[in-house]
Symmetry: C2
DNA sequence: ATAAACAATTGACACCATCAACCTTTGAGA
DNA sequence: TCTCAAAGGTTGATGGTGTCAATTGTTTAT
């Protein structure tokens, strides 16, 4: 019905805030063009994420938690930071994961206030399958010309390094 | 205490499914590398989206609805499709937006079952500010070298076209 | 020793999401 | 025409996600 037929409003917008990156005005148009395109593609793709997590009977947030937890043990408050959410939210989140035998609370010896989260055996196994599924590249990447894939990979590597 | 103590586990994973894109095995490693990096950056960035929507006292989903509605009137069921969610979910969603005077239900003349959604004056105004804010490029884009921004923009344009 | 700061939990409340059941309207077919 | 299946939307029940305020238990600083 509307294949972005009249998308004028997006291009014409003027960011009201100051350019936080400190870039010049001339560069900002370019960065915004790149970002807008990237954002559109990604936003479209991210709609699939809940369904992807559901393949493993996980909610999107639970999938995100398993992802983070694979890197090693985390305190609950650290996890709350990663998720950018309130600590009280993490309590119930971990309750449900623990009830399913995917993670374990272990009281820290150094500081008996904090509880460290670790994956159980089953949790690590599920995480492995989830990661493999998550990192399957979507069509809009696999169908790129190979030189675009190379360029994209290199650009993202540089961006990750300076971030 | 569990394996996976060190990172890098992502690179080693083997997608269990067949390469749906029909690409060669040799290319798949490349596509996956590009996608994994892109996914990591984007996933990190998307954590800010709830906070961004909250600047306008919107939930993330409400922001998404306003975005879609700017393209023109939509039936409730069409909106449910865009959101990849159940129709019953849209009812409450629109209830809250309508209660805030941002959208309006208009019964269709052709088919009295369907209700078309349109932005109110206030809704269109809020949407304009929201869009401007959403398309402000994040630091990882603004701080790229200019040639990377150009390359990224061109790659994304091509990807959008063939999608 | 007392007070301040911190980690996690609890309870109250709102939103998001699904499913099943329902009502109205529409569109075909007997 | 009359009936009936299908579609659009709503309602009610249930559960996950998220916030805030208040609480408990444990450090840490004064």
């Amino acid at each position: 019905m509307n294949g972005y037929s009249d998308s004028h409003s997006e291009q014409a917008v003027r960011p009201s805030g100051a350019p936080s990156g400190g870039t010049e005005v001339g560069e900002e148009g370019l960065a915004q063009q790149a970002w807008t395109l990237l954002f559109s593609l990604l936003h479209t793709h991210m709609r699939n994420f809940p369904a992807l997590a559901a393949e493993f009977e996980l909610s999107p947030v639970q999938a995100h938690v398993l992802r983070q937890l694979g890197e090693g043990a985390l305190a609950m408050s650290t996890l709350a930071n990663y998720l950018s959410c309130d600590a009280s939210n993490v309590t119930g989140l971990v309750d449900r994961l623990e009830a399913r035998g995917l993670v374990e609370r272990r009281s820290s010896e150094q500081d008996r206030r904090v509880k460290m989260l670790v994956l159980t055996e089953a949790g690590a196994e599920l995480r492995g399958r989830l990661m493999a599924r998550m990192f399957e590249p979507p069509p809009f990447v696999t169908e790129m010309p190979e030189e675009d894939q190379v360029a994209l990979r290199d650009i993202m590597r540089r961006a990750l390094k300076t971030q």
